[in-house]
Symmetry: C2
Subunit: 706 residues, 2 copies
């Protein structure tokens, strides 16, 4: 959808311009306070000659030029006629603040929303909202926002889209935050979140795309936008409630749409390298950091420099808890620091420089330069609280020291961030000075190291070896049917999953024949879609050697099953070589209604159940992605030569995961779920073995045979 | 140590009073700016007649009354003579700002510190520091602090002691923080952290004790103070670096003292119900919340009330991630909320009230009252960001609504906290109004729910069923020796640990005799302190039935061992009934050099190794504590009837843990470590079985036999 007329209008009409409190008044006040060039802004009110001294037009029709954007401040009932009137004036975008649509949950509301969607589509108008707070375009200075804000320069490079007006306000209130666009999307069913995201990913003035989303509406579009961002290495930071059961229920009820599982959403973001955050403060801090840094670190390694042992210890602890890598300094760095620091300091990373450094800008700059020059270090973290009530002369010297190094290094300056130990925006003056220098002041340590961890993940992400697509199928529901074990394996085998050589024998002779040619012991199981619990009816025999035993087993099973289940249609007896035992894994697939097949890998037994030690990833899956999945398991060690044992055939296991994902992708429209349990993994070079498999599909067995 | 003259002096002499920048000048400035009654404050300078217009005395000796406290602003060299002079004037407390002591890490520094310690002891003077920033007593308005602060009322009920001056400054800079005492302890070797803590636990004006500590110096005293606090239910909030390996190394190097393991420290705090936090922001927020709330919640259950779906979702998610319990509302509450909220709101906990509630104080108060009256709810969390730059009229109505309910409920008002979604202190005016009403404004959600989790733990803690002591032994190091399996079991058996009936037989006849009387199969193992790897020399036989097999096994083992290890002293052959298999556990004890024996319990196998699923707790251990340890394991389900299996004999397992802790406590001076691996746990009523045990003690085997 083209959002140019909506978000970058050449002319704007404010419908319902007013001096009162409320949408009309607030939009006008914002326009008057922020937009100096109002030559293409038109206030419209049928009964007023002027608003705040600005002449008013009676209607859009009266405006002396074509109108790109209508900001509709009037009530729900007026909207459709206004859109029609605007369309005649060339209008291609509209902001609708009014509520009374889908969000109220009534039949009337839903009908109103449907009518609005249809009209917008018919007229080709990109409608923001309804039930939104509007937007500000800071790049071209366009105000279409319904809440008054204190005047300060907020122009920057963070592009925000939020499905919650309230969260949008908090973002705009954040000291230091600077935006390219700030958009409150409201119900977002006409212009959707995915459209706004696409616009911001494309937009050159937007360095960071910052999103609060309640649920994805168009998974294909969502994936395409994330792929575009991944290819351009443009960070997309996403806040979405629903991690917990309660949060998921709230998100679902609020959007009124069935959302896919939160775990799937998470896995999708991981695939595309988008950054997920847990709350609003993190969304702000992450966006602020990414937009402030003049360049990304070249490596995800950090140095921490502090003025006291206590602060150094906190950075070591909270950093380590978040998996921050503090490499050792080189010998040269250590020697140089020893020469610069007081004799009682013991240089190390994290570094306690001692307070004495904070009273001399040159000394401080020297230590900072030395640390920055260390080839092991990608980014420097300066631990310091910008105090306000307590007079601390250190602040001036430190600032000067940092400034020296930043200026001297120019474009080669490695990224620096300041980590305070108490809230970050207290001392606005120094905070702003540092921001302007490209040094973000992060929130206190728990937040700071969370976002640094995400930064490390972001710069370590490589789009090159990822399969940047999803296998989104048609949404299915209703009747399902299970394939028999043999059929399940056959389907998997066709995609390269190493299933055992097995046959269905329909006579004692066939059983004898197969047994004669097979070295391993056999398992024989009755093959019938009607019998789910084979053992209960004497339908399973294990450890069968040679033709004689096979004949006996065949006859025993047939006799037992036909007497106990005379009703069942028996296809024959599945005869399969017994697999030798190996490391047990479980591989499953669930076809997420929104994002398509999600592949789950875990170690068999209690690992999955008690420790939730599983990896989830959307199909299709490349081999590199399969290996990443395995590596993310805590129990990965059990595959990788645990306690001096043999290494498992991880290569074959990765191939198998890729094949399973291929099978799932190909069956995206029909697959409900797949369970391989157990899958045995053998020592290096010896492959894997599927001991049991169950495919469940949508539809009926009969249909599938047509 | 009596700290009255130090912290609550009746008269104060400032030695080195000055108008310059530095200790002397800053202390004087603080005194003049904060202390209105200076009738017992004396400025001392040998060469000045007055400082800031206040007459000066040449020396302490000249002061016309006795001097309780000397604030020594002069250099290290002057301190000892000053203390002697002060002692003659009745001085019982001194603040020493000077550095040049242990902290510089030189021989001279250490010698200076030793001399200071000895002199202080000799003269009976409680010395704060050296190398400290001093203190403020806000209760009696005594200023002995070396950093200038903006004047505002900081008098409150948080008692702070910090081993880092820098962190102390940040705490004092925190808007809203209000103190009874703020103490920078410096090197803290004379008056120690434990002494200050004791003072604050005893102090009636201190509601919350708030500590930054680098390491415990006196574990017995530390435990005694924590016990006192636990008995009085006075919260002690502790920040200590060292959770991570890097953090631990920094803490150790900075204090210059061997600290016990961080895991032990953590376990000790858990035993006494002290609250450990991860960083400074959390220390502040936790202290601020505890001091602001007029009463503790009666139950650790929360209601979350918000104005938007997005914010509700964040509270649901971040709360759940932190284990916050949001019980369902009762039917009455739901019905009442439905009547009060807009038709499209779906009442639930967390509750999205919708923004409409925020524009009507009565409506808001009504919903708050309804939620608070729900018997399932212990505390109400109001989600709302106090904006500053963005005009949001909601703030006034909400405040009014809250005020209504707080006033109306009076002493029966359940605790309320406000949770902002962006930083908390931006809007100082409303923040302060809410604080004064007993409603703390917490930091944003990640911090907020971390501290609410700790609050829930604090109020759920019950000192009654805890063994509020530690088994601190004499510090041992050097030579160690292992007891044989039989001796290890014998020692444990004496404390009630259920070890199997086993004998050491020294002849084939004895073996036959024992076998004849034993129903179970036997294991026979050579018993020799000289042979560590018994299987390697043919020293183990399993699954022996009856006398004949026992005789043969005896002879086989003897023959094999004597031929392969002719040098070994053989005590005989350990003959023991084979234990039937059960759920495998590992129980270990490590004697922490600082806190005494720490008991570790975990499930056998990879659970301990890969998932670190262990519980650690200091001996002695009560039965309730043992059960808490087991319950804290993720693998606890495996003991408690996993997948429809039998419940294990948890009662017997708890008894065994108690007995092991008793054994460890009794051996606190000699035990190095103990390993029971595996311990089999049998179904309910069938007890546990120790399959192997190894006790290692300090000293030499020979000594132990004396």
């Amino acid at each position: 959808m083209d959002l140019t007329k909506l978000l970058k209008p050449k002319s704007v009409a404010v419908i319902g311009a007013s001096e009162k409190e409320g949408f009309g008044g607030d939009v006008c006040r914002n326009i008057l306070s922020y937009m100096e060039d109002r030559s293409h802004v038109y206030f419209i009110h049928p009964k007023r000659d002027q608003v705040f001294g600005v002449p008013c037009y009676k209607s859009v029709t009266d405006v002396p030029e074509s109108v790109d954007l209508m900001v509709i401040c009037t009530s729900q009932k007026t909207v459709i006629p206004l859109l029609r009137e605007g369309a005649a004036k060339g209008c291609g975008g509209a902001v609708v603040f009014a509520s009374g649509y889908g969000e109220v949950g009534t039949d009337q509301g839903r009908a109103n929303e449907k009518e609005l969607m249809e009209t917008a589509k018919e007229l080709g108008i990109a409608v923001m909202g309804p039930n939104c707070a509007g937007f500000v375009n800071y790049v071209d200075n366009v105000q279409a926002f319904a809440f008054i804000s204190d005047k300060r320069d907020r122009k920057g490079s963070v592009g925000v889209v939020s499905q919650s007006g309230q969260l949008c306000l908090s973002l705009m209130d954040c000291p230091g935050m600077r935006f390219s666009y700030s958009i409150s999307a409201g119900n977002g069913k006409i212009v959707q979140m995915e459209d706004y995201m696409d616009f911001l990913v494309e937009d050159e003035n937007t360095k960071v795309v910052s999103i609060y989303i309640e649920g994805v509406k168009n998974a294909d579009k969502f994936a395409a936008v994330l792929k575009k961002a991944a290819d351009r290495r443009k960070p997309v930071v996403i806040l979405k409630a629903g991690r917990s059961a309660k949060g998921g229920a709230i998100a679902a009820s609020h959007t009124g749409s069935l959302s896919g599982s939160d775990a799937s959403f998470d896995a999708v973001l991981k695939k595309f390298g988008a950054i997920r955050v847990d709350d609003l403060e993190e969304l702000m801090a992450m966006s602020l950091m990414l937009s402030t840094l003049k360049q990304m670190p070249k490596q995800a390694t950090f140095a921490s420099m502090n003025l006291s042992g206590g602060e150094t210890g906190i950075c070591a602890d909270v950093g380590s808890l978040n998996g921050i890598e503090y490499p050792d300094f080189t010998e040269e760095t250590l020697a140089s620091l020893k020469a610069q620091l007081p004799s009682y300091a013991s240089p190390n990373n994290p570094l306690d420089m001692t307070a004495s450094l904070s009273y001399d800008a040159d000394l401080y700059a020297g230590a900072l330069r030395t640390v920055m020059d260390d080839p092991n270090i990608g980014m420097v973290l300066i631990g310091y609280t910008l105090l306000l009530e307590i007079a601390d002369p250190a602040i001036h010297y430190m600032y000067e020291g940092i400034e020296k190094v930043v200026k001297e290094k120019g474009e080669n300056c490695k990224p620096i961030a300041m980590i305070p130990f108490a809230e970050n925006t207290r001392n606005a003056e120094y905070q702003e000075k540092l921001f302007n220098m490209g040094v973000p002041v992060l929130p206190p340590t728990v937040y700071a190291f969370k976002i640094l961890r995400r930064l490390a993940d972001f710069i370590s992400y490589t789009p090159e070896n990822k399969s940047l697509s999803l296998a989104v199928g048609q949404k299915k529901s209703g009747e399902t049917y299970a394939l028999s074990e043999h059929d399940s394996k056959k389907e998997l085998g066709a995609y390269g999953v190493p299933v055992p050589k097995e046959v269905i024998v329909t006579s004692a002779e066939e059983a004898a024949e197969f047994a004669k040619d097979t070295e391993e012991a056999l398992v024989m199981k009755v093959e019938s879609a009607d019998i789910l619990h084979k053992s209960d009816v004497g339908g399973v025999k294990l450890n069968i050697h040679g033709s004689c035993e096979a004949v006996r087993a065949y006859n025993d099973i047939m006799e037992s099953v036909t007497s106990k289940r005379p009703d069942a249609k028996i296809n024959g007896i599945l005869t399969v070589p017994m697999l030798k035992s190996g490391v047990e894994m479980i591989i499953g697939v669930n076809n997420d209604p929104q994002f398509g097949p999600m592949v789950m890998v875990g170690m068999g037994g209690v690992f999955v159940e008690l420790f939730k030690d599983v990896a989830l990833y959307p199909a299709p899956i490349s081999k590199a992605e399969a290996l990443d999945m395995l590596r993310s398991l805590k129990s990965f060690k059990l595959l990788n030569g645990y306690r001096g044992g043999k290494k498992c055939d991880i290569d074959a296991l990765c191939d198998t995961i890729v094949s399973i994902a291929d099978f799932a992708s190909a069956n995206r429209d029909t697959l409900k779920e797949l369970d391989i349990n157990p899958l045995f993994v053998y020592p290096e070079g010896e492959g894997v073995g599927v001991a049991d498999a169950l495919v469940v599909k949508y539809g009926s067995r009969e249909e599938s045979r047509l």
